[in-house]
């Protein structure tokens, strides 16, 4: 319990929330229009093969997306800037800082639940739906007994029913563990090493900061950011491989979309995490922010980074090793 009372800083009126809502709205409204027009055009192209694909800018909604997104980034920039400024001006009591900590903690929990939905989907499709498809009556009546339980599936149900005209085509091979002999060329392994290392380096940076050793802090935080970028590079390369050499696409059936959706959302989070750490690094290097007892921005980013790391471990086990 609070024993000594400090005033809790309640900010003055602020235009930021309203602008944040407006820009968010513009972004999603634009996205919805954009997606709908892309799909409508694709459908029209099917019926009339003389239609050429529209370029990105030929689509409805794209201007909304661009305006909204730029506005949104600007709002966030201002908002965070203001929060940092208030902190520097000493307006934030210890209690308010705890509010920020709770806020970040529960935000990460919500992210965990978001990922659970996709992990759950993977689990369900592999362990419940697939056996049901291969189950006697379903398999015999709808698929002529051709469904085999294997992962990745050799054929999608669509291929079994429609042969070459199927729109969901199973991948040539999976990205899974190919044995110790191939480990040197197996990217997921190296990505695991990289991410685990980066969790350690960010921790080293934290420890250094707690000892007020800013030089070491900057160094190790910089290394962490670099590792994040390398991870993303590897991931991009892996996607290239997956699409071009393994035949894995979003429309390759259950294997393909679970692979891309899980690793894709994870990749987006790594991107965000890297960006967050980069911002903290810049703040530290150029403005000298953070001291051992005042480093919430950095700490929050590092928790996020550890979370991203843990999700990767889940991916590594459930998507790659068991995949």
């Amino acid at each position: 319990m609070e024993t000594k009372h400090e005033a809790y800083y309640v900010p003055e009126q602020s235009k930021l929330p309203l602008w944040a809502s407006i820009s968010l709205f513009l972004t999603v409204f634009g996205l919805a229009n954009l997606f709908n027009s892309i799909s409508a055009h694709k459908k029209a192209m099917l019926a009339d093969s003389s239609l050429a694909p529209l370029g990105m800018f030929g689509h409805d909604g794209i201007y909304f997306v661009i305006c909204g997104f730029i506005m949104f980034c600007f709002v966030l920039y201002t908002w965070f800037g203001q929060a940092i400024d208030e902190n520097i001006r000493g307006l934030n009591s210890a209690q308010l800082k705890r509010s920020y900590v709770w806020g970040m903690g529960w935000f990460i929990f919500s992210e965990v639940m978001f990922f659970s939905a996709f992990f759950g989907a993977l689990w369900y499709l592999r362990n419940i739906s697939f056996p049901h498809l291969a189950d006697a009556s379903t398999n015999d009546i709808l698929y002529n007994g051709n469904i085999e339980v294997e992962w990745p599936p050799a054929q999608t149900p669509d291929q079994i029913v429609n042969g070459d005209s199927a729109s969901f085509v199973a991948p040539d091979k999976g990205m899974g563990w190919a044995g110790w002999g191939h480990v040197a060329k197996w990217l997921p392994f190296w990505n695991t090493v990289i991410l685990l290392t980066s969790s350690v380096t960010v921790h080293i940076a934290h420890v250094a900061l707690l000892k007020n050793n800013k030089k070491t802090f900057n160094l190790w935080l910089g290394i962490t950011v670099a590792l994040g970028i390398i991870f993303l590079g590897f991931q991009a390369f892996e996607y290239y491989e997956a699409v071009h050499h393994y035949g894995i696409k979003l429309h390759s059936g259950a294997y393909g979309f679970t692979f891309f959706m899980l690793t894709g959302f994870h990749g987006m989070h790594v991107f965000m995490g890297t960006f967050m750490l980069l911002v903290q690094w810049l703040r530290s290097v150029t403005k000298g922010h953070f001291t051992h007892d005042d480093c919430f921005g950095f700490e929050a980013s590092s928790w996020y980074w550890h979370f991203v790391d843990v999700v990767w471990l889940g991916l590594f086990i459930f998507v790659y090793i068991l995949g």
């Binding site: 009339d48 049901h132 498809l133 189950d135 379903t138 009546i141 709808l142």
Partner: protein, 374 residues
């Protein structure tokens, strides 16, 4: 005993009041149904209902007594007690015990519902937007079951509705008495649910998967049901009718169905004039297509394309046949449901009606050839 009495009473009433038929407009409870499962379910329903009533009487009784006795206007002084571990334990444990008492019969009944083994007849039930298809596995009999024309005509009319309004179909499902029938339920487009209350069978029809259910009816009878899962626009208009007949009648009915199929194949060999095709085509269109594409061929913007001026109906005949026989996104395939004559007629009709004036003819043989070519 009681139920026999009730039933004969109902029969008497029905005989004296021919209009009332089977319907009780004040029906307020489940019925016992005609299978052992449905009777168990009914018993369970009443059992739990009575328990809830008893608890309700106690709880609400205590409340009302308190509201009467302990109101301020009677000048009472509020006592200040606010805790009693003993009481709390009692009203945690007692309800828990009651629940355990309910769980036993419920488990037993559920196990019976799930026991689909040893069926003597398999029927594949497929839900389509918005009709059912029944295929008697290994019997060479398969047909579609649509809302009857009589009901369709009544939907928008101001006349009084008939008693079986929205609960009658053109081709009812027929099953034999005393036989364990297994339903293999699936769907062709979205999720539907096959439900016949008197048999206490309700199973969701999931596209791409098969669910199993079963029934065994001992007495001949006639039962109705409805699709029980929102499946789009005409979800409210896809009823189910089941006729339960003796095994002998069932066999002869199967024979008739097979003969019908043979006659249809025979008819497909004939050639028709354009007028014959247009006449038949209009009937088919109004029956099967107008639900979506509308009687005037204008469709519903954003949902169902217009036939008037449609690039497909005024384009390549092959594509047109493909769309009608094999369907599209949101458009069911009609290749199995319509006879070749009907398909040819409706395609010809669409190419010449609503100002499409293509002037060309599709004959049943074209349809058969197209289907064989696939």
């Amino acid at each position: 005993m009681l139920s026999i009495f009730k039933r004969s009473l109902a029969l008497l009433l029905a005989a004296s009041l021919p209009v009332a038929a089977e319907i009780d407009p004040w029906q307020y409870n489940l019925t016992e149904g005609v299978t052992s499962v449905s009777q168990n379910v009914y018993g369970l329903h009443m059992f739990i209902f009575y328990i809830c009533c008893i608890i309700g009487v106690i709880v609400f009784g205590a409340m009302f007594v308190s509201m009467y006795l302990h109101r301020k206007s009677r000048g009472v002084e509020a006592s200040q007690f606010h805790e009693s571990v003993k009481l709390e334990l009692v009203w945690t444990i007692v309800p828990a015990l009651i629940l355990i008492g309910m769980a036993f019969p419920a488990t037993k009944s559920l196990m019976e519902i799930y026991d689909t083994d040893n069926a003597e007849l398999d029927i594949i039930v497929t839900g389509h937007q918005w009709k059912w298809q029944y295929e008697y596995r290994g019997e060479g009999v398969s047909f579609f079951s649509n809302l009857s024309q009589k009901s369709k005509d009544q939907i928008y009319s101001a006349d009084a509705k008939s008693d079986d309004y929205l609960l009658d179909v053109d081709n009812p499902l027929v099953i034999p008495t005393g036989t364990k029938v297994r339903f293999l339920v699936t769907a062709a487009d979205v999720i539907h649910s096959w439900w016949v209350p008197e048999l206490a069978v309700k199973r969701d029809a999931i596209p791409g998967y098969i669910n199993e259910a079963w029934t065994k009816v001992d007495e001949p009878g006639h039962f109705v049901g409805q699709c029980a899962e929102l499946c789009g626009k005409d979800h409210g208009f896809m009823p189910i009718e089941v006729k339960v007949v003796s095994p002998e009648e069932f066999e002869s009915w199967l024979g008739e169905k097979r003969a019908e199929a043979a006659a249809i194949a025979e008819a497909a060999k004939q050639t028709f004039t354009i007028d014959q095709l247009l006449e038949e085509g209009k009937v088919v269109y109004d029956t099967y297509c107008a639900a979506c594409h509308q009687a005037n061929g204008q469709g519903v913007p954003g949902a169902f394309p217009a036939i008037a001026g449609s690039p497909i109906a005024m384009g390549d005949v092959g594509l047109h046949m493909d769309r009608v026989l094999n369907g599209g996104v949101g458009m069911p395939p009609f290749g199995e449901q319509l006879t070749p004559v009907q398909s040819a007629a409706v395609i010809t009709y669409q190419r010449n009606a609503f100002g499409n004036n293509m002037g060309d003819i599709v004959q049943p043989v074209d349809v058969v050839q197209y289907q064989q070519g696939q």
